[in-house]
Amino acid sequence: MSPASLSQKNRITGGLVDRDQPLGFRFDGQHYTGFAGDTLASALLANNVRLVGRSFKYHRPRGILTAGSEEPNALVTIGDGAYQDPNSRATTAQLFDGMTAKSQTKMGLLSFDLMAVNDLLSPLLGAGFYYKTFMWPAAFWEKIYEPIIRKAAGLGSLSGLADPDQYDKGYLHCDLLVIGSGPSGLMAALVAAKSGLQVILADEDFCLGGRLNAERQEIDGMESAAFAALCLAQLAAMDNVRILSKTTVFGAFDHGCYGALERVNEHDANGAIRQIFWHIRSQRCVLAAGATERPIAFSNNDRPGVMLAGAVRTYVNRFGVAPGKRVAIFTNNDDGWATAQDLHAAGVEITAIIDSRTDIAKTSPTGVPTVLGGQIVNTTGRLGLRSVTLNNGAHIPADCLAISGGWSPTVHLTCHQRGRPVWNDAIAGFVPGENLPDGMIVTGAANGVMTLASCLQSGLKAGQQAARDLDRKPAVIKAPRAADESFAIQPFWHVKGSDKKAFVDFQNDVGVKDIKQSHREGFRSVEHLKRYTTLGMATDQGKIANIPGLAILADISGKTIAETGTTIFRPPYTPVPIAAFAGRSRGKDFRPTRLTPSHKWASAAGAVFVETGAWLRAQWYPQTGESEWRQSVDREVLATRASVGICDVTTLGKIDIQGRDAAAFLNHVYANGFAKLPVGKTRYGLMLREDGMVMDDGTTARLGETHYIMTTTTANAVGVFRHLEFCRQCLWPELDVQLISVTEQYAQYAVAGPNSRRLLEKLIDSGEDISNEAFPFMACGEISICSGVKARLFRISFSGELAFEIAVPSRYGDAMIRALMAAGEEFGATPYGTEALGVMRIEKGHVAGNELNGQTTARQMGLGRMVSQSKDSIGLVLSRRPELVRDDDYELIGLKPVNSDQPLIAGSHFIAIGASPVAKNDEGWVTSIAYSPHLKSAIGLGYIRRGNNRHGDIVRAVNLLGGQDIKVELCSPHFIDPEGTRLHG
């Protein structure tokens, strides 16, 4: 024996652990050694650590109950700091060298938990206790009760730090997904693969084989674990098979889609992927998820050392660990006796076999006392089991009690598409019902087939059926030789009269008494029972608790289980970390960032960027000596209006529209007329939704007889394009028109200010003429610049100045901004960002996103007369609804504080002087505000009732959140150049 084995008191011979690979780990600060192939649970048991946690509510000492993902007790926190992973099941956590784990749900020491006083108070803490006790006063709940209860009751806690691990997402496609690698799953996968199907075999365990690794049975003359290894080797050698170990298929979704979580690596500082969230698309699925053993309820059935009988076999056979020195067995079925045989074979002392049945023909291993018709009524041993007390008064010493209350088929995934399991008396369990997910075949123990030879055969049949369903000739494989062990059960759920601290749901501390109380207080349907007692609502989702809980409820109500019904299971089968769902879509990678063509140049120029949707746009360009953003923005505005400014406007949506009927199409989608727009001209277009509200606005230029280019706002680019495609395909399919988004194909710059023409004249090739006569306001056309680059020029203006927008193919975008800046040097050309853009449009009274908020009409914006009444356009009919044409409607106005030193706050509401600032006196609101360096005052735009008639009025702008209540003067929204002489210059 190696020294590592010597230190592990409970390590026995055999099993699938590698004794040549000792692994050091820490639990609650104490150092231990286990072996490769261990779970944290098996390594703890090997080291005789039985107490691993405290229960959720009563803080009772708890040990390891199971050997799988159904574990309710042994939840631990693995890892430290940012790597800390709470509520990890010790029974599934693969041991690795250097693992650190901590117990949870305790105050102070695990062996002396300060909150264990709850256990003494348990008579007060029954079902509904929190609902009844902490309901008054209501205000106390959030601030006082809940934090205290959470602190006292909570499971593990998060680190509060960002998860440093990498997660990924992936898509897999196959003909057949086999879930579970036990005897049925292996057979199904083998025969399907040999029939030529593309097969994925997934199992949550790191060691595949399911119960074959946990049992000492013989198949084809070899040990079951060796048989599993042989099958897996065959599968691994086939090109059409993909084996996913450590992969939990947690949900069955629509149309053959399965969600699976692969735990690829443990925490890894080197950045290896920790977990992958797979979307698996499969034509067929064989569910071979096996069955889950359940306990029997009696007083103090939760002491450390109490374990499910099947789990005891797993620890003995698979891990070479004896869960106790002296084991007692309590069973209601034949399977419990298999545990006795295996323990005996491993040389572990069995102190008694207690079977609740009286009439059975089972022989115990030599020298083991058996008690037929026996029941356990109590146990002793606070921090670890010492003895069990029988109904006949006998005390039987035991440091481990193996319980078998029978096995429940793991039907979870069959329920994910509304399937309801049905009760089967023969196995005393629920089996899959109808309404299975599309293409799912359930086989083996998951389908109520409880013995080995039958499971192997049932798996073969399932795999062959999948092949037939997919029009393949099923391969013929001889069923392996194995025996059918006996599987007789007589339902026995709880020991009558032994109700005190008789637990059903170990994780949520729900006992027989709680179920009785729930029934007594009228919560009698299964769904009510669940919610009132929280039975089955913990992180294990009642994998072992639901059926016993239900059976006890049925017993109390005097109904059969079938009559009582069952709750159904929803995804996920086991918890899935949010990080896995997110994958790489975290932080900056949550969505793509779109950069404008001038981004590189703007970064070098020191621009401050702002997110506008997915885009990063320059907000302003600070210069040396500017410490406040306003200094930069004021300078940019003044410079543009005085000489020339340049702004990247690439982010506006650009839609190329072509076709013989393009004009007719535009006439339908814009509220104003487009039929008569001549070639070489641009027009402002107002787009309504069908409900009559304004959807978007922009300009559309007619570049040719059948060729238009539309711009949309940055924010609505995607939505408008979708809408136009809807109009084109669904409403006017007879029109000859095609659309394509060219937002990213063209870089576009606004060149604005009195010197904009002179700047551009330096760049255009000889022969081009952009004089006011040749290229007047709203002109557009193709133009050759910079010695032969084909550009598009638009004489449009958002700033109110003489202005142009020039578009070049995106690949010239960077060169274009540099060329513009170089040509503009003599004019002091100033790059400006979105803030200056906003200031100038507010000064000019142009509406933008704040005014186009989806609840405003053309009429409110002062654009009512643009809506043509003489053609069919989207939104026309409903824009005439009475409520939208009220005389006292809101109308767009400008505003200035009476005291020009005062700032304005967007979102403030208009209240008459002397009126109290309450909703009924609300007359409108401020939509946009800016500081106008020209007017040397804050200015704003807003909507107020009958605004057009109120220019010159003084009202209050009240902002209760901002603590502001100031007088403002209403005025025309056009603060600068209302006649538009600059535009036309």
Partner: protein, 151 residues
Amino acid sequence: MIINHPHLGPRDASEFSILGDASLINRPDWQAGDADDAFYSYLYLRDNPAGLHRELWFHEQGDRSWLVVTRDTVTHAIIDVALASDIAKAATSKMSKVNAGKKTAAKKTATKKTAAKKTAAKKTAAKKTAAKKTAAKKTAAKKTATKRDVT
């Protein structure tokens, strides 16, 4: 969900965005006397069936086709997928025939309109029953499959 695109074959639903009831194709006549009511119904009144529902889906991350998807809202089974433009064209050609009739003789139009409506109604009815039949067949097939699985 998987949507079987008429041009592109089976595509994941995440490539699409949904608009809703396919009746949005049938936009009313803006010049009709009852246009206000018709548009109100068109825009705001929707059926919300538990069962077969014709919906508009946009293949936004694909070829930008608008599709009419007939989907069972209870099981998410997709019974039929068609190009919305084909359906809209069929509807428009019917409409234009009616409009052509309008110009020649008012009386005739009236009869034609009702006739057109009737045929339309008949066709939809026939379609619906057909769809239902296939649906029923499919469920039946499913049921037998399920039974086979269990036994």
